[in-house]
């Protein structure tokens, strides 16, 4: 094992409480999934951050290419009709 061999890269997601979404909090290195889970507990949940952990191998995440930005995302810029901004909200309706 070389000094640089820190194991596999994993991405960590934490759920704040039951029913809430798991949110990405960071990454870590570990040699296998059990040790990754223990490292995640020690790195990311020591201060009451949540009570659920998901861990995914970073290589298993399919990511969009930053160079595809124009063709992927720009076309939605000028299509304001995709947002429901033309409705009149009746008085008395809250939380919108």
């Amino acid at each position: 094992m070389s000094d640089e061999d820190q194991g596999i890269l994993w991405e960590v997601f934490i759920q704040v409480k039951a029913g809430r979404p798991f949110k990405h909090v960071g990454s870590l290195h570990a040699y296998d999934k059990e040790m990754a889970m223990k490292a995640a507990r020690d790195l990311y949940t020591r201060r009451n951050e949540g009570n659920g952990i998901w861990i995914v191998k970073a290589e298993n995440i399919i990511s969009s290419d930053i160079n595809d930005g124009e063709s992927f995302f720009d076309p939605s810029n000028d299509k304001i009709y995709r947002h429901p901004t033309f409705y009149k909200i009746p008085d008395g309706v809250k939380h919108i």
Partner: protein
Amino acid sequence: MNDKIFDYCLRIGDSSLILSHRIGEYCSKAPILEEDLAITNVGLDLLGQAESFLNYAAELKGNTTADELTFKRKEKDFRCLHLVQTPNIDFAFILTRQFLIDCYHQTLFNQLVNSQDERISGISKKAIKEINYHLKRSTEWILRLGLGTDHSNQRLQNAVNELWMYTDELFIDNETDIQMDNLNIGTLSSSLKNPWEQLVTSTLRSASIEVPEANLYSLQYGKNGFHTEYLGYILAEMQHLPLLYPDASW
């Protein structure tokens, strides 16, 4: 009776205190960042447990504090086990020492949660959750080092062989044990031996590590105030600042 409970609390508190100091010495030196944080977290848990026991000890003695007990006591007044005083030789030694102590803590605290002394049972109920995690973590590492490569297995076997002689102290009874057991405040150290051995040997065997023969190492034990050559140096470093700047605060 109070002086025996005091002695009992010192033994448990001092052992956690000195082990947490040893772990603190290792901070920033673990092989990878994740392990550095994880082992340091264990050290912080142990420091918290030490504080709880030393706070109680200070109250029993009266007219003192946990800080005074920690920073102003002389070596012969400490009651920590020899095993926790052993130096950080390498990762295998640190993990083995931790694993042997974690198994000991789990068997001991499983008894102490039922202590007739409410204070001790209260501290123990909080501590056992942390201890259960410590043991899971150190067990995983024992398995990985033992089953990893020939080299990692040899390094681990070497650490187990070297540290084994310090484990007989864990199960030696003295006057304090007998009185604590009579009052159902604590338990006989000797009664912890079987459950501890089962825990330790099943993991070591699963990790392809040979369990050394039991050997009598010493008749002078830390729990009686007789220490290894290491403790004086640990205290010299730990007590240096408070001795230089008495009662300093920030």
